[in-house]
C-alpha cells in the first residue's frame, strides 16, 4: 500500500471480501478485539532490535492489515518488515521512526473500525430449546468440523434450535469464526452431552 494510503479503505477492502460486508465487519471486529493497541510484543522487539521476531510479526500483521483495508498500518508494517529483512546502519533509526508512526496509526485505525457498525447478530428468539433439532444440528456441525469443513446451514439451525439459549453458543461461534476447530469440537461435545440421549 502506498505511504499515503487511507486509514481504512472500506470500499476497496469490501471488494476483496467478495462484497460480503457482514464477513468483512466480523473480521474487522475481531482485529479490534485481538489488537486493541500496538502489540506490546512488537514494541518490545523494536526496543530489543530483535530483527528476526520483528520480521515475522510485521509480516503477519501487514498481511492482516492489508486484507482489512487498513492501508496506513499496512504501509508502516511493510517498512518495518523491509528494514528487518536487510538490516543496515540506518535500521535502528528506521525502526524507532516507524514505531512513532505506528503508535499514532494504531488508535486511528481502531477508531475508524469503531465508526463502522459492528456486524449484525442474529436476533435471539424467545422460543424454548428444540433439543432434538439442536442435537441433530450440533452433530452435523461436529461432523463437518472434524474434516476441516464449515457448515453454515447446520450452524444456523443450531442457533435457531437453541432458541432463547442461543447466547450460550457465543464461545462456540467465536471458535468457529476463529477457525479454532479443536476448541469448537470440544465445545460441541460439551453441548451434546447436555442433551439427553435419544434412546437408551
Amino acid at each position: 500500500a502506498p505511504a499515503g494510503g487511507r486509514v481504512l479503505h472500506h470500499a476497496g477492502a469490501l471488494q476483496r471480501w467478495a462484497g460480503n460486508d457482514s464477513a468483512y465487519r466480523t473480521a474487522l471486529d475481531r482485529f479490534a478485539r485481538e489488537h486493541p493497541r500496538l502489540p506490546p510484543a512488537l514494541q518490545a522487539a523494536i526496543a530489543a532490535r530483535d530483527h528476526e521476531t520483528l520480521l515475522s510479526q510485521s509480516h503477519r500483521l501487514r498481511g492482516l492489515a492489508a486484507n482489512l483495508g487498513l492501508e496506513q498500518l499496512a504501509a508502516s508494517l511493510a517498512t518495518l518488515e523491509q528494514a528487518c529483512a536487510s538490516p543496515g546502519p540506518a535500521t535502528a533509526q528506521q525502526l524507532d521512526a516507524t514505531l512513532g508512526t505506528l503508535l499514532t496509526q494504531w488508535p486511528a485505525a481502531l477508531a475508524a473500525i469503531a465508526r463502522l457498525a459492528p456486524p449484525a447478530l442474529p436476533a435471539a428468539t424467545e422460543n424454548a430449546i428444540d433439543a432434538p433439532a439442536a442435537r441433530q444440528a450440533a452433530s452435523t456441525l461436529l461432523h463437518a468440523l472434524r474434516r476441516g469443513e464449515l457448515d453454515d446451514a447446520a450452524q444456523a439451525q443450531l442457533q435457531q434450535a437453541m432458541g432463547a439459549q442461543a447466547d450460550a453458543l457465543a464461545p462456540l461461534l467465536h471458535a468457529i469464526d476463529d477457525f479454532d476447530f479443536p476448541l469448537a469440537q470440544s465445545l460441541l461435545h460439551g453441548l451434546l452431552a447436555t442433551f439427553t440421549p435419544e434412546s437408551p
Binding site: 498481511g63 476441516g148 469443513e149
Partner: protein
Amino acid sequence: MNARARPVILVVDDESSNLQLLRQILQNDYALLFAKDGARALELARQERPALILLDVMMPGMSGHDTCRQLKAAPLTAAIPVIFVTALNQPEDETRALEAGAVDFISKPFNAAVVRARVRSQLTIKRQADAMRELSLTDSLTGVANRRHFYDIAIGKLLQARHSRNHYALLLVDMDRFKHVNERLGQLAGDALLQEAAARLRRVLRDGDVLARFGGDAFVLLLCEVASEERLAAVAGTILDALRQPFAPAAGAAILATASIGIALYPRDGQSVDALLSGADSAMAGAKTARDSFRFYDMALNLSSARSLELQGRFEMAMRENEFCLHYQGKFDTARGHIVGLEALLRWDHPHHGLIFPNEFIGLAEETAAILALGNWSIAAACRQLAQWRQDGLPLVPVAINISARQLRDPQLLATVTRCLAAHALAPALLELEVTESCFIDDISQAREVLERLRALGLVISLDDYGTGYSGLSHIRLLPIHTLKIDRSFIRDIAIDRNDAMIVASTIGLAHGLGLRVVAEGVESGDGRCAPGTGAGHVRPLCNRMHT
C-alpha cells in the same frame, strides 16, 4: 458445504482473517476445508485428497515450505497442486516457493479476481493432468486397466492378502479362437467383441476386484477376498457363462465366442504378481485344450505332494525355529466404530516357501499330533502378547484363537489354558476360543463338556464360520457358546444377494433370541447391519512373531 461435486480446496493459514477472506472469495464455487497449521494440513490432505491446496508460507511451527515439501514427498498427496499464499514479494521468495514444489503463488493483500483466476487455472491443469494419467493407465480399446496399472494395483492388493483369511486369485481369461474372429470378420468386429467382453467381465467383478487387458485377447482379473475355492470356481463359471452369450455386432450375424480361464491362488501358487501370472498361464494351457472351461494351477503337477511331505516333516523344527507367527486382526463394533477384540491369525513364515496360510498346513498338522503342539503354541503366544501389550501400557481387548476339533478332545486343553493365563496373570475373559461346527461332528457331548468347563473358567467361546456347516440353530442352542460368527461367504454378498441377506437377518434374529452375540466376519461396508464385525478393510492387522 457438502456439495462434493464441486472441487475441494484445502486452505491453510495460521491467520483466521486470511482464512475468512479466502473463504468469501472461493466458497461459491468450491467446497473448502481449512487448517491453521502445517501438521493439520498434512492430515487433511491425506484424508480428504483435495484437488488443490492454498498454503500460507509463513506459519509458526511447520512453515509453508516444509509443509509443501512433505506433501510432495508423500505418494498420497504428491500430485495435489499447491499454490502458496504469501505477503512475501521478493523474486527469491518466488524461487523458494517453486523449489518447495508449489505450482504458483498468490500475493497478499488478496485480489479476489486474481485468486479466482489462479485457482481456476491450476484446477484446469490438474484436471487435464488427471485425464492424461487416466489415459496412461487404461487400455484405450476397452477402458479397463492396462498391464502397468494392473501391476500397481495388484501389488498393493497382495500386501492386503497377506493379512486376510480369504483367497486372492489371479485369473487369466483368454478368448477362444479369437484370431479367427479377427481374420474372418475383420479387426473392427474383433475390437467390438473385446469391448463387449470387457464390459461383461466388469459386471461379474465386485468392488475391490481388478480387471485389466494385457493386449490381444488376454484379460487378467485379480479376485480379492473370496471365501473358498468352491466360490472361486463358481465365479469362474459365471465368467464363462457371461462370455458364452452371443456377441451382437452392429452389423452382421451374432458371434458365438467362448473363453478359457487359468487360475492361480495366492499365496499357494505364487506370492508375487509375476508368479501368479505364470501359474495362471500354466493352468490356461490345460483349459485351452478343452476350451470354454477353467482350470486351477495344478500343484500336483509341480511339487504339491513333495511340499506337503516337506511341510509335515518340518512342524517341530518350525516351532523351534520360531517360524510361526500370529497376525492380529481387529474386531470392530460397527455401530461405535472402535475395536472390541482381536482375532489371532496363524501364519507360517517358511524360510524357503515364504508366507504359508493355515489352509495349507492345518490339514497336514491335523494328520499328526503336531496340531496339538501348534494349538498350544497359539494359546501361549497370544497370552504372551497380551502380557506384552499390558506392559506397554496398551488397553487390552480379548484375543480370539482358533481351536481345532482334535485340540478340543485333548484332555490337557483345560490345563494348558489355565497354565498360560496364570503364567501372565491374565483374566480368562481376555481369551476367546473359536471352535467350528466340525468340532461337534464326532462327539457333541464330550465337546460340550470341555467347552462348559472352559466357559466356567471365564473364557469366551464362539462358534466360527457359522453357516458353512450343517448345524441348525436348534443344535447350536445345546452348546455353551457366547458368540456366533456368521461366515463371510454370507456377509460378503449381503449387498447383492437378497437370499443371503435374508438368511443373515433371520440368523441374527434367532441367535439374539438365544442370547448369543453375533459377529459378522469380513465386514467392510460399515453399514452396521451386524455388529460387531471383523474386517481387514477396517484395521490393518498387526503382525507379531512370537517366542515361546
